[in-house]
């Protein structure tokens, strides 16, 4: 029993008290952090994409489409191998993982924002302008609250997707849950099945709970709204 708990601890936090933090904790922290920074960046990108300025609109659309076409692992490689080439000095792997997933989450959240903006319609912007609110005020007080409430299930679904996608960073050597599972199974071949089952169960518990949460929110929001959203934000609402 004690050995089992020790092993489980290794999966959850890695070699933490005696070494650096790892395991599932890294996945959770990284996905939360990139969700937040991607949220801000994604909002800016989405606002740029619907703005009246042609140049800004073009640049934002180009960036979003370009990065959405790339697999996450390619993005991770861009940051891991290429940034040091430009900067002239190596970057910590955790930082490059953070930056690449932030960019990835930013463009995807920008698309969620955009479908929210489309659902709200132009009327709200116009009304906000008529009542004398500045651009910043109308975004913060009128547009964002409605978008957030409407797209909340999509954001939760995207968070699940990010949580699963962070497993990719094990490829560049971050000791996340996947890396630890592989390490355990390679060190002791008799634990092969065991370590994969633990990995699967841990991921499953977190993602399943979150997806239930997303469904719960969706139900709470009433039906009429969601039929519209499903058409627009189908990417992460499935």
């Amino acid at each position: 029993m004690n050995e089992f708990l020790n092993n489980l601890k290794f999966f959850l936090v890695g070699p933490y008290p005696n070494g650096e933090l790892g395991g599932l904790a890294i996945n959770l922290i990284l996905s939360l952090a990139t969700m937040v920074s991607g949220f801000v960046l994604g909002l800016l990108l989405a606002l740029g994409r619907i703005s009246g300025n042609r140049l800004l609109k073009g640049v934002c659309s180009f960036v979003i489409e370009l990065i959405r076409a790339m697999p996450l692992i390619l993005l991770v490689f861009w940051f891991y191998f290429m940034i040091p080439l430009f900067a002239g000095k190596p970057m910590p792997i955790l930082l490059s993982a953070y930056l690449s997933i932030t960019i990835y989450s930013a463009v995807n959240q920008a698309e969620i924002f955009r479908s929210g903006f489309v659902n709200i319609g132009k009327g709200q912007w116009q009304v906000a302008e008529c009542t004398g609110l500045s651009y910043f005020q109308s975004v913060v007080y009128i547009i964002l609250p409605q978008t957030l409430r409407m797209m909340l299930p999509s954001f939760v679904s995207f968070f699940i997707s990010i949580l699963k996608d962070t497993s990719v960073i094990s490829i560049i050597g971050v000791i996340d849950l996947t890396h630890i599972g592989r390490m355990v199974s390679q060190r002791d071949p008799s634990k092969l099945v065991y370590s994969y089952v633990v990995m699967g169960v841990l991921y499953f518990i977190f993602c399943f709970a979150l997806s239930r949460l997303a469904k719960h929110i969706e139900k709470k929001q009433g039906l009429g709204q969601n039929i519209r959203i499903k058409k627009e934000g189908a990417a992460f609402n499935n």
Partner: protein
């Protein structure tokens, strides 16, 4: 910073061969895993909609498993663990097969996508109005005819856009096969990078490849959707 591009090295001799092999392997991985994913997805949907409780439960459990475990874990599972579940002789045959990594990648990719695809198709079927089915019944269509001529055409049209999104996701995920050293494009570019140190060139190459694939799928999807509209537009 000054970086001298050196495309000559990348496009010469064995490296060009690796790239071409990588392109071929990537394309076949994309096609095979996407088609399999849709097939498994359709079968699972029927299981999910079945009136038999046990079949329904199995299908739902399968879908949730597919959707809540990362694709990378599925790939690694099929490569390292799956052969272990068989008796000694089959295990040996599997482990010594040179194509094990390719088929493990196909299995992992298609299974992790099939859960999503099944949910998408179910959504498409559910969105067909119930009156259509009663109308078909009253016109004397059999159950099979109702499925073939009434439900399917509308369901496919309903679920087409999210289905394309998912297939694009699957296509991008094929790059994960790099971890099983399947010789696809990402593997080829990384291999060339580690020998020639022309990292920027090969990474640009891989990026352009995925861009082109995305554009092609986008165009094809738009064409198909246009074709579908008149058929279901009444």
């Amino acid at each position: 910073m000054n970086y001298e591009f050196d495309w000559q090295t990348v496009f010469s001799g064995q490296y060009l061969g690796w790239i071409i092999e990588g392109l071929k392997c990537s394309l076949s991985l994309m096609a095979v895993s996407s088609i399999l994913a849709v097939l498994i997805g359709v079968i699972t949907t029927f299981g999910n909609m079945s009136k038999n409780r046990i079949i329904h439960f199995i299908a739902v459990a399968y879908i949730e498993l597919c959707r809540n475990i990362p694709t990378l874990i599925w790939l690694l599972f099929f490569y390292y663990v799956f052969p272990e579940l068989f008796p000694e002789t089959i295990k040996k045959a599997m482990n010594s097969s040179p194509d094990l990594n390719y088929w493990a990648a196909v299995a992992g990719l298609s299974i992790s996508s099939s859960g999503y695809i099944s949910e998408i198709i179910r959504g498409g079927i559910m969105a067909v109005p119930k009156e259509q089915i009663s109308a078909a019944k009253s016109l004397g269509h059999s159950k099979l005819q109702t499925w073939l001529y009434i439900i399917w055409p509308q369901a496919i049209k309903n679920c087409f856009p999210p289905l394309v999104t998912r297939v694009v996701h699957n296509v991008k995920n094929t790059s994960l096969a790099l971890t099983l050293s399947v010789h696809e494009i990402m593997w080829a570019t990384q291999q060339i990078e580690s020998i020639t140190f022309r990292g920027l060139e090969v990474t640009i190459l891989a990026t352009v490849f995925f861009l082109v694939i995305n554009v092609i799928i986008g165009l094809a999807a738009r064409l198909l959707e246009k074709r579908m509209t008149p058929a279901a537009g009444h």
